[in-house]
């Protein structure tokens, strides 16, 4: 290895390291403040690690606040949204991948359109539509809204996964007498499991993060989701940074778990899509 090559390699590793540090530092800081006892917060403000760590903030948040309820609500909403979206999007994604039919490009155009216009535009009419149906202040209302918002992207994602599976498989099954739907369910879906997992993860994370519609549609504490709960917590008790950050770390856990599960499919799935296009 020449000296120039070695130098390049060292520079490359340093650059990667610098970026990893940049990506992780804000999360590290969140964790650091969340374990800093309140008595040390101001005296040891910018130390990299407190001289004494404690879990007092976590205990408080889990036992003396409404966060367990918020956490449960967010889990119900995000998990239901993810399951429903993945179900309907795999049907539509399959249709987009396997059929050539009149109107297909209209459907694709419609799906793209929904990705282009400002969703804030829907906040007011959505409130007016859902409120007579009793779907404001309810988790079901949020689920309905989140399902619709996530379905277009999930359909494209599932389509790209189906495109990666050879057509001959279900054609062989259909020649053997299976209906297309049976072939889809028993042969194609099991092969798409990684894609299904990725879609579930994507949608779960998106629903878990949604803030503006939840703010608008929910005012009852019992139906509050995590983002809204944390934001109202911030404006209400804006002095207790330790507790807020402990709640923040808790909000991070499910999203990160899902992400670590799906991240290796991310580039792979998108590569398949890129090769095609």
């Amino acid at each position: 290895m020449t000296r120039k090559r070695l130098l390049l390699t060292v520079l490359h590793r340093l650059a990667v390291l610098a970026y990893v540090a940049f990506a992780l530092f804000p999360l590290f800081w969140l964790l650091k403040v969340s374990v800093t006892p309140t008595s040390l917060l101001y005296t040891e403000g910018i130390r990299m690690w407190p001289s004494r760590a404690s879990i007092e903030h976590y205990v408080f948040v889990l036992t003396h606040s409404s966060f367990p309820t918020f956490f449960l609500n967010s889990t119900i909403v995000s998990a239901s949204t993810a399951v429903i979206v993945t179900l309907v999007a795999s049907l539509a994604g399959y249709a987009m991948s396997r059929f050539i039919f009149r109107g297909k490009y209209w459907i694709i155009g419609l799906l793209l359109l929904t990705q282009m216009f400002p969703l804030v535009m829907l906040i007011a009419p959505m409130f007016k539509m859902l409120s007579p149906l009793g779907l404001t202040n309810s988790l079901s209302g949020l689920i309905v809204v989140y399902v619709a918002f996530n379905v277009p992207f999930a359909t494209f994602l599932m389509q790209s996964f189906f495109d990666g599976i050879p057509k001959d498989l279900e054609e062989a099954a259909m020649i053997d007498g299976a209906t297309r739907f049976t072939a889809f369910r028993q042969i194609i879906l099991p092969l798409t499991l990684p894609g299904i997992a990725a879609t579930l993860g994507f949608v779960f994370t998106a629903a878990w993060s949604e803030l503006l519609f939840a703010l608008m549609l929910i005012s009852d504490n019992r139906a509050t989701t995590f983002p809204v709960g944390l934001l109202s917590f911030v404006s209400k008790f804006s002095v207790d940074f330790g507790q807020m950050m402990a709640a923040g770390v808790l909000a991070l856990i499910p999203a990160c778990l899902f992400f670590l599960l799906i991240q290796r499919y991310l580039v792979q799935g998108l590569t398949a899509g890129a090769v095609k296009g």
Partner: protein, 311 residues
């Protein structure tokens, strides 16, 4: 099943007609749930929203609801907060997109080289993307807070700040707070798409170019850039529109303040709807934003067409 197959040919025209209809309907059956959801929960409210722009709809006023024609738009033309929000939207969108794109591309190039621990490095670098947007907003707001955050102290140590203070409270620089959070959060999106596009470039192209004596810069310019260009163009276009609409970080970090200096059009719409409950006015602003974004997208597509035809 075998019986059915052997009988099929002589059964003739009726069944094939039925089968034809069934075959034509099949893709629609698969797509129906998605279509129903999108029409009922996105297109209907969208149409309603457009109609609200011409009506007086205030949630707390039972007498509102009447048609007011272009009154909201006249009010909008005279609204200096809206004009400020337009300028802020340009700042917010273009600084965020350019920085996200540049760093995303660099990160993708770094991760495209094989090295030990690459899988781990990639997972860690993409992690910010999994952080819920409201939380990355809060996290960065805390990082900028001189009481618990390190950034003001670092800036003071570097001599960029006279004493540790919160940039989110300073009207002249407050916008850089949400932009910083947005860049941190959005780099992985570009890195993932660019990395996918990079990995789709055939490796033998580079080998052939190297044999022909092309240096690394030449190889980057004549192989990597042309291969990445379509992905770059489409992801920048989509991301620009998306970020122009993305109000979460601003709502969480500054709520449009101080003195409306971080208010973008999307957060202004939200403020009008959520705090003032003036749905009519909010919808009028939203309609203007929609028209501007459509105009932008069409401009980009037209530019692309002319560039393609020139080639």
């Amino acid at each position: 099943m075998t019986l059915y197959n052997s009988v099929a040919p002589p059964a003739g025209d009726r069944r094939t007609a039925m089968q034809k209809i069934a075959a034509a309907l099949e893709p629609w059956l698969y797509s129906a749930p998605v279509l129903i959801l999108i029409v009922a929960i996105m297109l209907v409210p969208l149409a309603l929203g457009v109609s609200y722009a011409f009506r007086d709809i205030r949630l707390l006023n039972p007498f509102s609801g009447g048609f007011v024609g272009l009154a909201h738009f006249r009010e909008l033309a005279a609204d200096s907060a809206f004009r400020g929000a337009l300028v802020n939207t340009l700042w917010w969108t273009f600084s965020s997109v350019i920085l996200q794109f540049l760093f995303g591309l660099i990160l993708a190039l770094l991760l495209n080289r094989p090295f030990r621990g690459r899988a781990l490095a990639q997972a860690l670098c993409f992690l910010p993307w999994a952080v819920p947007s409201f939380l990355s907003g809060l996290d960065w707001a805390w990082m900028f807070n001189p009481v618990v955050g390190p950034i003001p102290h670092w800036l003071t140590a570097l001599g960029l700040m006279a004493e540790p203070s919160n940039i989110l409270a300073d009207p002249d620089v407050a916008m850089w707070g949400p932009i910083a959070a947005n860049v941190w959060w959005g780099i992985p999106f570009f890195a993932i798409t660019m990395l996918a596009a990079l990995q789709a470039i055939p490796k033998d192209l580079y080998e052939a170019a190297e044999i022909d004596g092309a240096g690394p810069v030449e190889r980057f310019r004549s192989i990597t850039v042309p291969f990445l260009a379509p992905t770059m163009a489409i992801s920048i276009l989509l991301r620009t529109v998306w970020i122009a609409n993305f109000a979460d970080l601003i709502i969480v970090m500054t709520n449009g303040g101080p003195a409306d200096r971080t208010q973008i059009v999307a957060s202004y719409i939200f403020t009008q709807a959520f705090r003032r409950l003036d749905f009519g006015y909010a919808s009028a602003i939203a309609l203007v934003l929609l028209v501007l974004l459509l105009a932008y997208s069409m401009l980009i597509v037209a530019l692309r067409q002319t560039m393609m035809s020139r080639q």
